[in-house]
């Protein structure tokens, strides 16, 4: 695919989904836990945007916030969350229920918890069809379910009366994808680790299915994954998060060729080779600071291999535009193109 998409500049017109300045705060023992602090996203029709980042950096939280799935004491604020021209924050709970699973659906990270354990898979699936597929008659449901399951590589015959715990993790993950794709109105699919429990042959098949949906239905996707091979395989654009903030936005080719943010650079360095020679794996030193920590400068400074100097500890870097690539990166190195890019490793 040649997709000229570059950075999310927040003012693009041709967008299905636009989120600006999302902030989500959980409460823990009466204290705020700012899980998402700076998050914006722009998705065009048919575009696949990858969302990657440190475990705990707020990826799942961001997606759940967009879909309006978090309840108090969690607090969600945003300048705008616009899906096909409508701001979702102005919708009633009833209208949001129609959006979820209708125009926008989510595939959750923990498949088993996304199903009701005491209902059979068939009955849960039929309920989704009754909500989102007015074109079908009740007696056509099972046929449609089997067809949708087949699309994700599951032979559902004899299995519709089984309960969620009777499926393997990878089977549930695929069933969830089939459920998410049931609606004909679907415009945006938010997929949280959709292929982690799949073997690579079935993963290839599911990715192929998602690509087909993109081509045939012009479906857009936000794909959260830790598997950078999946990002390389699928995405047009990538958003990188660290400690609740977007630290880099780049076209996928630029991301792999010339990552701008040191976190992205160090992340790419940690990809293990295959086959592996048994050499010790590179891992970033240290860990993410606790989210409630007061940090003046850059959140990545303590682990950064390319730290500039005291500015990194004192001043939070904004998302700077990267002129060479059209991307964005939150690093003080970026404004000076002479030192930006992968080469500056002297700290």
């Amino acid at each position: 695919m040649t997709n000229p998409s570059t950075a999310a500049t927040a003012v693009e017109t041709d967008e299905v989904l636009r989120v600006t300045d999302l902030r989500t705060t959980y409460q823990f023992r009466g204290l705020p836990v700012p899980a998402v602090k700076r998050f914006s996203l722009s998705v065009k029709p048919g575009e696949i945007v990858g969302l990657v980042g440190e475990s705990g950096s707020g990826k799942s939280t961001a997606l759940k916030s967009i879909l309006g799935m978090l309840r108090p004491p969690a607090q969600v604020e945003a300048e705008e969350i616009i899906l096909t021209g409508r701001d979702l924050r102005s919708l009633s709970e009833e209208e949001m229920r129609k959006v979820r699973g209708g125009e926008m659906a989510m595939i959750f990270q923990d498949p088993i918890n996304s199903f009701n354990p005491s209902w059979t898979i068939g009955s849960q699936f039929r309920r989704v069809l009754s909500l989102h597929r007015p074109d079908l008659e009740r007696k056509e449901y099972d046929e449609e379910i089997l067809r949708l399951l087949k699309g994700v590589g599951i032979d559902g015959r004899g299995k519709l009366n089984s309960y969620p715990f009777q499926f393997s993790q990878g089977q549930l993950q695929r069933i969830m994808i089939a459920v998410a794709c049931a609606s004909k109105e679907l415009k945006v699919l938010l997929a949280d680790e959709p292929t982690t429990s799949l073997d690579v042959t079935i993963e290839a098949q599911v990715l192929e299915l998602l690509r087909t949906l993109r081509v045939e239905r012009n479906l857009s996707m936000v794909l959260v994954t830790h598997d950078l091979s999946v990002v390389a395989e699928m995405c047009d654009k990538v958003v990188v998060m660290y400690a609740g903030q977007v630290v880099e936005v780049a076209d996928v080719f630029n991301l792999f060729e010339s990552p701008q943010h040191p976190y992205t650079q160090q992340l790419l360095q940690a990809i293990p080779g295959f086959p592996h020679d048994g050499e010790r794996l590179y891992a970033m030193r240290g860990a993410v600071p606790g989210l409630a920590t007061e940090i003046q400068g850059c959140w990545f400074a303590d682990r950064c291999d390319s730290k500039l100097g005291s500015i990194c500890d004192t001043t939070p870097p904004p998302l700077y535009p990267v002129t060479a690539t059209g991307g964005l990166a939150a690093c003080h190195r970026v404004p000076d193109p002479a030192i930006a890019g992968g080469e500056g490793k002297n700290s």
Partner: protein
């Protein structure tokens, strides 16, 4: 037992293990005798020598988790035996089993369903210590902090509940819990699936350290071939409840024999957008553990299948020293070089 032979006695020995589940239908179908059976694990035998890591890879739904759970008797096997340190696990009483579990732990594939949602993380991690009466409350707490740090989490997490942490954070709690009693044997079921590559590297380095320093023996279940390549000594490949190929890591990586193993290695995506696959070949007919194909279970998907592949299930046979393959089309040892099957994508 053969104590003085050069190859050490296996720490874990699994013989012809079966775990079948009845599924579907209410009372009526049961009365009519129409109950269907899922052959989740269907006659698997493996040995793991001390300090070795056997990686299990294979199809989604092929029984990998069921095997891990059955070995620890978290699922009751319907046939076969498991011996650990020379003791038959399958015949132990509940109490004996409980004591044995201190030495054999599991990291569960789904962290959410394997923890009690009403417990705080500190209690979850310390649970094996409490169950086995190790230390007092304060030493257990101290150990929980250590364990959290080992997996890259700070003590802020001690008092959180499972729903108050991210997927990858909870997965690491599951690893910390499994390591709490310093077990000799660990079944790690997709322990790094929800971790970013850097945290994953940290966890993998931790496991290799435990292997070399404490002599940890592992069954390591994963879909991530790079991670398997890093940690495994032996690799077993499963398909629909059975092992279709097993051998050393070097053998499987350099000369995979079974068409499914080849398909797996060929399908592994690469972290480089320039190497994108244009399109993956169709998967063919997908298997179902209830209505299994006759003949070789892989035959409906196999690009090389011949007549007998559709009628007879191929036995797992030694094709090269230490490498066993269940495929009619792979000739035994002397001919292995001559009948190299081409690597075919899925």
């Amino acid at each position: 037992m053969t104590e003085n032979v050069p190859t050490p006695a296996p720490l874990l020995s699994v013989k012809d293990l079966h775990t079948h589940f009845p599924v579907g239908g209410g009372l009526l179908t049961k009365l009519r005798g129409q109950q269907q059976i899922v052959h989740a694990l269907d006659g698997v035998s493996v040995d793991i020598a001390p300090r070795q890591t056997l990686a299990i890879i294979g199809e989604s739904g092929s029984g990998k988790s069921t095997m891990g759970r059955s070995i620890l008797r978290l699922e009751e096997p319907t046939g076969g035996s498991v011996s650990f340190r020379g003791r038959d696990i399958t015949s132990l009483s509940r109490e004996e089993l409980r004591r044995e579990r201190q030495h054999m732990q599991m990291v569960f594939q789904n962290p959410y369903s394997s923890v009690n949602k009403r417990n705080r993380l500190v209690d979850i991690i310390a649970e094996p210590l409490r169950v086995h009466g190790v230390g007092d409350a304060s030493s257990r707490r101290q150990r929980s902090v250590e364990l959290l740090e080992l997996v890259g989490l700070n003590r802020d997490f001690l008092h959180r509940y499972p729903h108050e942490v991210s997927g990858g954070q909870l997965q690491r709690v599951g690893i910390a819990r499994a390591l709490a009693t310093n077990p000799e044997f660990l079944v790690a079921d997709e322990p790094t699936a929800s971790l970013d590559v850097s945290v994953r590297a940290q966890v993998m380095n931790l496991l290799t350290d435990l292997k070399s320093e404490l002599g940890l023996t592992m069954m390591f279940i994963s879909h991530d071939l790079a991670v398997v390549s890093y940690i495994a000594d032996q690799i077993a490949v499963m398909y629909l409840g059975r092992i279709v190929e097993i051998g050393s890591k070097q053998q499987l990586e350099s000369a995979p024999q079974h068409p499914y193993t080849k398909a797996l290695f060929a399908a592994a995506p690469k972290p480089d957008p320039r190497l994108r696959k244009k399109e993956s070949a169709p998967l063919g007919e997908v298997p179902n553990a209830i209505t299994r194909p006759t003949g070789c279970f892989y035959s409906p998907r196999c690009p090389l299948a011949e007549a007998k592949c559709f009628t007879d299930y191929p036995r797992l046979e030694t094709k090269a020293a230490g490498q066993q393959v269940a495929c009619h089309l792979v000739a035994p040892s002397p001919l292995v070089g001559a009948t190299q099957l081409p690597i075919t994508p899925v």
